[in-house]
């Protein structure tokens, strides 16, 4: 009886000689492949057989819902659910203030509700500058308060507008202006007296809403709207520049001011003001990095992005 080693050598020789003939190679390879496929099929059969015999398949299958209910619909003028293209107005509840409102206005609402966004800043500051009872509806959430100025500053430096600048709802800015102009003059006069004692933030906010040009005669700020015909845009700009200079502020605060001014432009105020302010705002932002490079997101990826920018030409 030949030993295993001898058998091995004999086998090797046998196979080698057989396979030296190319015709044999083809046939042999096919045969091997077919065997392999059959054994893979066998494996799957055993798996399914086992699952079936052990009751697993039954449990997995359960009772199926009617499949046709969820079939995709393909047709003109409708989506895949067979629903018409135009959507019905939807409503939702604000997680912050629990009010019900139209879904399409949720984002701007939330923005004010959380005390973010430029409008909210204005409104919040209006609370400071006058005690009008109209402001009841809006409240900044607590955890955002401390971060208010920091967050918005950062945001303003880095944010570039990508979307549509929608005209603000009439109920936000305008009415406020009107109130200021007509209703509470006396209060404002008080504010005037107290102008010097206001914080810079408050002054800035005030100047976002009113003309602000100091009347030579009365030495008081003009409280008419930003479109007031008594004074020119030049004058208004000068007042703001003076405020900034007195602060000793750097370029960084300028965008705050300018951006907010653009905001009020959207309420229908002076065209030329916007253009000139808009241009300088653009100038300002040309030196900032893209929002995608914002350092406040994952540090690793932003680091990578900066690196990426550098390596590209």
């Amino acid at each position: 009886m030949a030993s295993v080693e001898e058998k091995q050598i004999e086998l090797d020789r046998e196979v080698r000689s057989y396979l030296s003939n190319p015709n044999n190679v083809e046939a042999a390879a096919e045969a091997v492949l077919n065997d392999l496929v059959d054994s893979v099929v066998l494996g799957i059969v055993f798996e399914v057989h086992r699952a079936a015999k052990c009751g697993i398949v039954d449990h997995e299958d359960g009772i199926t819902d009617e499949v046709s209910k969820f079939e995709i619909v393909e047709g003109a003028d409708m989506d895949i659910f067979g629903q018409p293209l135009k959507k019905r107005p939807q409503r939702c509840i604000c997680p912050s203030c629990k009010r019900s409102l139209a879904a399409l206005r949720f984002a701007p609402h939330l923005s004010k509700c959380m005390g973010l966004g430029r409008n909210s800043l204005r409104l919040a500051s209006r609370q400071i500058t006058n005690s009008s009872k109209e402001m009841v509806g809006y409240s900044a959430t607590d955890d955002n308060d401390s971060e208010l100025s920091l967050g918005s500053d950062r945001r303003r430096k880095k944010r570039v507008s990508f979307g549509t600048r929608r005209p603000k709802n009439s109920k936000t800015g305008r009415n406020g202006d009107v109130t200021l102009e007509t209703g509470t003059c006396s209060e404002l006069n008080n504010s005037n007296m107290n102008y010097d004692s206001m914080s810079n933030e408050e002054k800035k906010n005030l100047l976002m809403q009113i003309c602000g040009v100091i009347s030579v005669s009365t030495r008081k700020l003009c409280t008419r709207s930003m479109r007031c015909s008594q004074h020119s845009d030049e004058q208004r700009r000068a007042v703001r520049a003076a405020l900034l200079n007195s602060q000793g502020s750097d370029m960084n605060s300028t965008p705050d001011m300018l951006q907010v001014d653009i905001d009020s432009y959207e309420d229908g105020d002076g065209q030329s003001m916007c253009e000139s302010l808009g241009q300088s705002w653009e100038q300002e932002h040309s030196n900032t990095s893209s929002p995608a490079d914002s350092a406040s997101t994952s540090s690793s990826s932003s680091k990578k992005r900066e690196k990426n920018t550098k390596t590209q030409e």
């Binding site: 086998l11 396979l19 893979v40 099929v41 799957i44 798996e47 009751g55």
Partner: protein, 90 residues
């Protein structure tokens, strides 16, 4: 036929049989063939009823189809590798 056994034996000895099987299994999983066959088996079991079918019957029904459904690309790759192995030292 005689040589079939010998070839099989040498493949087992070298361990290549297991390797080829694993490669084939991987490719057949990747291309979705495995899922196809699995569904086919499940279908048959469902039709006949779990109690009424044996593994042997299943094997009989599915093997031929299994062979036919193997994509050409996979066949080609495996054949090429097997032939390459044949031409090397076995």
């Amino acid at each position: 036929m005689l040589y079939k056994t010998s070839i099989e034996q040498s493949l087992i000895l070298s361990g290549e049989k297991d390797r080829f099987k694993e490669l084939l299994r991987t490719r057949l999983t990747e291309c979705g063939w495995r899922d196809q066959i699995q569904m086919l088996c499940r279908q048959i079991v469902k039709e006949r009823g779990v109690q009424n079918i044996t593994a042997d019957e299943l094997i009989g029904e599915v093997t031929a189809k299994g062979r036919a459904l193997v994509p050409d690309a996979v066949k080609k790759e495996l054949l090429q590798k097997i032939k390459a192995h044949f031409s090397q030292d076995m």
